[in-house]
Symmetry: C2
Subunit: 302 residues, 2 copies
C-alpha cells in the first residue's frame, strides 16, 4: 500500500465524504458522514465534524494537507471561498483557493455571469477530475452532473466556458412528496422501475405546452388509468429529465457528452439521451477525488 | 328583496361557498366555510358540512333546489359526477348533471382528451357564468382562470373547444415554502409587492433555457444582491406566470382574453399580458353563481 499523500474532502450540502489519497491520486480509504454543510452552522461545528470523521488520519499523519470542495466554501459554510468566473480551468481554480489554515484549503466555486448569474460549488472539482481522467473531453465536450441541482457545463480548449443549473432533482422531490401529484402515487417509494413510463415522460417533454402544464398529466394519466400508480413516479422523472435535456440540446451540437455522478441517476439520463437519438455518452462515477488530486498538484500542495 | 329561487354551491377543494340566489340570479346572501372537499371524507361528512353552512336556508325554504359544482363531484368527493367531453356547452353540462337526491344536483366536470387528458371541475361552471354575463365572449375567446391549477379554456361558437391546466399556483407555493429558493426570502410572506421584480421574472420566462433552469436564478439573483430578499417572491411569481402565458400564446392568436377569479391574482396576469403587448383583457370576479344560475335554467330546475 502506497503512503498517504492527501486528505481529499468532498463536502456537499447533505454529506461529507473523505478520501485518503496515495501516489497518483489512488484512493486508499474512503469515509463518509451525514455532516453536510446544510446541517452545520459556525466554524466550530465544521471543525468538529471534520475531527469526527478523519481526526485519526490527521493525528497519525501531521504532515498531510487537506483539500476540500463543495458547499463547505459557501457563504453559509465554514468560510466563504470566492467564485471564479468562466471561462476557467484548474489553474484558475487553484490560484484562488481559500487557505483556511496552514493545513486545510477550500476550492473556489464557479460563476457564469454571461447572462443571469449561475453558480456551482463542488461540481467544478468533479469537472477537473473528469478532464484529468479523460483528457479527450478537454477539447470540446458537454459535462452533465445530474442531481438535486443538475449542472450542464460546456468545455472547450480545456476550460469551462459556461454552464447552466436545472433544479430537476429538487422539483422531482417536491412534486413527489408535497404536491397534488403525490396523492395517486405509492407512498413507500419502493415501486419497481418502469422504463416505459419514464420514456413516455421523456417524449411528452419534447412537446409544446410548458412544464407546468405537462406536469398535470401525471395526475390525469393516473386518474384515467392510462398509467398505473407505480408508473407515475417514473413518468414524472421522465418529464423533468426530458425537459432538462430538451432545453440544453435545443439548437446546440453539444460535442461529446459525459455524465458524471450517481450511476443509477446517470443511467436514467443515458437512457433518455439514447431515446432522443444522441450518441452514447461517457459515464463517470464521482470524480471529485481525481479533481482534488489534480488541483492539489496544480497548487503544488503535494 | 326578491324571493329566493336557488341555493348555489361552489364547492372546491379548500372552501365551500354558498349563494342564495333570487330572481335573475341575483345574489341575496353569501356564506362560506373551510369545509372544502379536500378536508372531507364520506357522504356523512359532506351532508354535515352542508347542514352546518346552510341548514337554515334549506329548512326555511323546503321547496328550494340546490345545485353544486366543483370537487364535491370528484372521485374523492360526495359522489362522482361524470366528465363531459369537449367541445361542450351549458346544454351538454346540464344534460349530464348528477342527481344526488331529489333536491341536490352536482354539475359534471369537463375533460379535454384531444391529446393527454386534461380535466376541470368547477371552472366549467365559472365559464358558463362568464359567457352568460358576457355573451360577446361566446364567439371566439380565451378564458383564463388563474389559481392553484390555472385553466386556459378556448371558447368558439359558444362551446369550450379545449383547455389546458397549468400547475402554476401549486408550483409557486411549493417553491416558496419548501425549496432551496425559500432560504433567501422573507419568511413572513408580508413583503410589499415589487412590480419591477415581477416583470423582470415575466421577461426572463420569455427566454430560452427551460423553467427548471430559470428558477435557479431566483437563488443567484438573491445571492449576488441583484434583487432584494423582498423582491424574490415577486420574481418567482413573474417567472411562473410568464411561462404559463408564453406557452399558451406561442404561435396562437387567442381572441379576446378574459381573466376570471380572484381580483388580485387576475391583476397580476393582466399586468403580465399588458407587458407582453397583449390587448387589455376583460376582468371578471367569481362567476360561479352566474354559471350555476344559468345551468339551473338550462336544466329547468327553476
Amino acid at each position: 500500500m502506497s503512503a498517504a499523500r492527501l486528505i481529499a474532502l468532498d463536502w456537499g450540502s447533505t454529506r461529507l465524504r473523505a478520501f485518503l489519497l496515495g501516489d497518483g491520486g489512488q484512493v486508499l480509504e474512503t469515509r463518509q458522514s451525514n455532516d453536510g454543510a446544510a446541517t452545520l452552522s459556525g466554524a466550530e461545528a465544521y471543525a468538529r465534524a471534520l475531527a469526527d470523521l478523519v481526526g485519526d488520519w490527521r493525528a497519525d499523519r501531521p504532515q498531510l494537507k487537506l483539500l476540500a470542495c463543495g458547499m463547505v466554501g459557501s457563504q453559509y459554510g465554514w468560510r466563504e471561498a470566492p467564485y471564479v468566473r468562466c471561462p476557467a480551468d484548474a489553474v484558475a481554480l487553484a490560484s484562488q483557493t481559500l487557505l483556511l489554515d496552514e493545513r486545510l484549503s477550500i476550492i473556489p466555486g464557479l460563476v457564469d455571469d454571461a447572462a443571469q448569474p449561475d453558480v456551482m460549488r463542488g461540481e467544478e472539482t468533479q469537472i477537473v477530475g473528469a478532464l484529468a481522467l479523460h483528457p479527450e473531453l478537454a477539447d470540446e465536450s458537454c459535462l452533465v452532473l445530474p442531481g438535486t441541482h443538475s449542472k450542464w457545463a460546456r468545455v472547450s480548449g480545456g476550460k469551462v466556458t459556461g454552464f447552466a443549473t436545472h433544479m430537476t432533482g429538487e422539483l422531482f422531490a417536491l412534486l413527489r412528496q408535497h404536491s397534488v401529484l403525490n396523492r395517486l402515487m405509492p407512498s413507500d417509494g419502493s415501486s419497481p422501475a418502469s422504463p416505459e413510463a419514464f420514456l413516455k415522460g421523456v417524449d411528452a417533454a419534447q412537446q409544446d405546452g410548458g412544464l407546468a402544464h405537462q406536469l398535470f398529466a401525471v395526475r390525469t394519466l393516473g386518474l384515467f388509468k392510462q398509467l398505473s400508480a407505480e408508473q407515475l413516479p417514473d413518468y414524472l422523472s421522465g418529464l423533468l429529465i426530458g425537459h432538462e435535456i430538451a432545453s440544453e440540446l435545443r439548437g446546440v451540437t453539444p460535442g461529446r457528452i459525459a455524465l458524471v455522478g450517481d450511476p443509477a441517476l446517470c443511467a436514467r439520463y443515458a437512457q433518455a439521451l439514447a431515446h432522443l437519438g444522441q450518441p452514447q455518452p461517457l459515464l463517470l462515477d464521482n470524480t471529485a477525488p481525481a479533481g482534488l488530486w489534480r488541483l492539489a498538484l496544480t497548487m503544488n500542495l503535494i
